[in-house]
Subunit: 517 residues, 2 copies
């Protein structure tokens, strides 16, 4: 057994059975081993940003890692932006990055570079396998590190000789450690805060955005009057009829300041202390209201859900959570607007959908329009590195083949990783992509004003403008094997969405919408 | 004057007047300043791999840096693969990477990451600007470092507060230092080797692949009988009628071993000692023939061309270089083959063309078919990070608006940075892209065999296969505003190439070719 074979067999033993891959020569023994270990599903993507974003999306839905297969430093580099999002999502992702054979490195061949420098950006786990007999154990350590609460990106650098060398050993699966519980004294302290009669904001994040956490948090809020929000960009939030509907903290500092105004206490459960997404001249970055005290009930490496449940059992023993009633918007008519397209989505979102939301400024009113839709999960842009929507939708669809996936996708962001459509076509994934085409980086028009940049001239605006020429996403999608249509009215969008949800396989709908600005 | 304005004014003073950009919020003051300093041309690209590859292509043709504008760590990450190629090409490139305002970093906002880790992979120059009044001088230092022989990638990290802060100072242009000459004793030593009567290979690279270097090297070869090759992947090689035609060292180790066989001496002039591109089990990585001695006439940080000329004046004072005669293939007919498509290109290549060559296995016979074409430059894949062709062609066209640019582009590699087509359309660049569509990562089929991977089964081959579904590059191109056609015969390719060369603006031709394997 060579190192590559032992690697894949070890992964299978650990329950890791999907590999998103964009391989090169140094990964050829790994590729060949896929015919020896047929339990591993290899999924080819045409660029590394698709590979890593798919790994992130898979992990968010499967709650276990997929592996990514990447080609030396440039392959990891191309994949870094979506790994940054995975890092911020605490998604367990295991990168296998091929490198030259160890004895070949001194020649400084063209593709040689210091791969470790790149991996360090991810602040996760890094190891270089040094021999075939160690590869299995190294892979298992990578899986364990990725899976250890709260989840992280592991990067195993795999020299070609460790891959092709004989003597591979299949490693035994390592148990991921249990998630540590919050300190009971901390729980008691938060109970005191919540029952103090002072104004409290409860800010939840991470695992607390799934149903059990939302239910416990809602009971607390109902019983104590605490204001409840989730972090701005949860990795995965459960929503819809029958689940507590919890508002997200606003992206714009002004929104968040309004939401948090007057709080004497901010209790954090799996969320970071509120801070603005970007800095702006003469505005505070720290969004904790002046004079408010911050209390950490549990951080993400702890069992946030159990901590919330413990608090709820103390402050709200007989209180039921406030569950969202079923409610859908009426199907609108007429030309698409920023309001009407989200109403179409709210009216038609299928039961059990997974929504990969990269709609940016086009989706400002999406949460309200979909709050009472059937139950669904929303995956958001945790790390701010755009180009996540299409790959994450791809990975989510692999993780949940029986669920419809809806990717709400801003036009500018789509173009970073648009090759994901090809993988969706190849794997016949049930992904419906709605590209919100407003011919602009509209969020940057907003930000150009917000940062107080003095210029608003033609040369600046040209860099925020996606017209000249207009992108035609129907042609781009068809060029990658995904059937596509264009919608300019609510009726067209509704008709095309219905069809896309009804038919298996991927579809793309280009919705022509006005820019926010 | 704010920091951003002083930055751009300083760059203009240094002769740097093109900025390839994919900006975000933290770069908005830079963007706004483009309306204050209108000498700087901002060129928007839709993904960072296009930005950095365009910077590389621009530098290879303009012999000076453009700046790239990138958005924090994820932006630099997405751009790393083509910066790796730029590093290997010794292209002077100045990255401006925006970061959060300095006082915002402690909040660890979602886009925060350790940008320096990424920049270190490039082994170039790195600095973080700490205040508005330093930005101009920092930019000038970045330009100087990039331009210092032999050229490198500079990365200036620009916190938003350094950009928006007042007190910017325009820095005076710094002179790049002269290129140091080779040691006269070394020149004499190489003369002794060349006149020893023993078998010598002269391997040239870097600047020696331009006409003056080629002429000097050719004189040496003609006079002494030394075998002359260029490095395998020159950043820029001048070719065609009237220029010495110098064969490149082969990509496959077997080819290179054949070319070098029997040499007692290998003289290096701007090239690294020959080593194989990848390692293979049971094959030597070092391609220097056993027993041969290696002599470094000049490395890339030295004046390689002057050193070659000095040697030539000593060993070949009255010898003329062997210049390539004009000669073009006949226009072939019938279905496209791996031979006929290169003959069409050889028959029609216009005078003064710049060829961005990422044809891989489809272009094995391209050098022979174009050797006697009118004078042209070829830009090659210096670092092995695929996805370089379309962006490099884009940057080259900006650097040389009066020259036709021909991008010979493998299908798989095209998909990493295909959004370059949109920039070509927006800027109305005279780039003709010929996509060699063989529905495969054909080079990996070859490599799968060459690495001795035992498996050659359906699951391995599926990861090397670009069919299911077939990519339709005409639709993808049209979706980005580039007129496109498909050619399946030599006649169709010739007709479409003629039209593309005759009409201004970008064109794409999808040439359907058989895979090598």
């Amino acid at each position: 057994m060579n190192g590559a074979q032992s690697l894949i067999r070890s992964l299978i033993g650990a329950g890791v059975d999907v590999c998103f891959a964009n391989p090169g020569t140094s990964e050829m023994h790994f590729v060949a081993a896929l015919d020896d270990v047929t339990e591993m599903r290899g999924v080819l993507a045409l660029s590394e940003g698709v590979v890593t974003g798919a790994g992130d999306g898979y992990a968010r839905i499967a709650d276990k890692p997929a592996v990514t297969l990447l080609h030396l430093g440039p392959g990891l580099g191309n994949g870094l932006a979506n790994l940054h999002n995975a890092r911020r999502a605490n998604s367990p992702v295991v990168n296998i990055v091929g490198d030259h054979a160890t004895h070949h490195l001194p020649y400084d061949a063209p593709l040689t570079s210091d791969i470790e420098t790149l991996a360090r950006n991810l602040e996760g786990w890094i190891r270089r396998s040094t021999a075939a007999e160690k590869v299995g154990a190294d892979a298992m350590a990578a899986v364990r590190a990725a899976s250890e609460p709260p989840g992280r990106v592991s990067t195993l650098i795999l020299p070609a000789d460790a891959s092709w060398g004989e003597g591979g050993v299949v490693a035994e699966a390592l148990q991921a450690p249990d998630t540590p519980a919050a300190d009971p004294a901390t729980v008691q302290g938060v109970v005191s805060v919540l029952t103090s009669g002072e104004s409290v904001v409860l800010l939840i994040g991470g695992r607390a955005c799934r149903e059990p956490g939302l239910r416990a948090a809602s009971r607390i809020a109902v019983s104590t009057g605490a204001r409840l929000f989730t972090e701005t960009f949860p990795a995965r939030i459960e929503r819809g009829a029958g689940v507590p509907s919890v508002e997200r903290l606003g992206y714009l500092a002004e929104q968040a300041e309004h939401q948090l105004a007057g709080a004497a206490h901010v209790v954090l459960a799996g969320a970071a202390a509120p801070a603005s997404f970007f800095a702006y001249p003469d505005r505070a970055g720290d969004l904790v209201p002046s004079g408010a005290r911050v209390h950490v009930l549990a951080d993400r490496s702890q069992d946030v859900v159990a901590a919330l449940a413990a608090v709820a059992d103390l402050v709200a023993p007989d209180t039921e959570p406030m569950l969202q009633e079923p409610s859908r918007p009426e199907l609108p008519t007429g030309p698409l607007t920023l309001q009407s397209w989200v109403e179409v989505v709210g009216a038609l979102l299928p039961e059990g959908a997974i929504v990969a939301d990269e709609a940016h400024t086009s989706g400002l009113t999406l949460p309200a329009a979909t709050a009472g839709a059937p139950r669904h999960d929303v995956l958001t842009l945790t790390g701010g590195a755009i180009g996540f929507g299409m790959p994450v939708a791809t990975g989510a669809a692999i993780a949940a083949p029986d669920r419809p996936v809806l990717n709400l996708q801003a036009d500018g962001s789509a173009m970073y990783t648009v090759a994901a459509l090809w993988t969706q076509a190849r794997e016949r994934l049930d992904v419906t992509t709605v590209v919100l085409n407003n011919s602009a980086y509209a969020i940057l028009r907003l930000e150009l004003q917000r940062v107080g940049a003095t210029g608003d001239g033609p040369r600046a605006n040209a860099l925020l403008d996606l017209a000249r020429p207009d992108l035609d996403f129907t042609k781009i999608a068809e060029g990658m094997g995904v059937p596509a249509g264009r919608a300019t009215t609510a009726e067209e969008l509704a008709e095309q969405l219905r069809r896309a949800f009804a038919e298996p396989g991927p579809h793309l709908i280009e919705a022509i919408v006005p820019p926010l600005l």
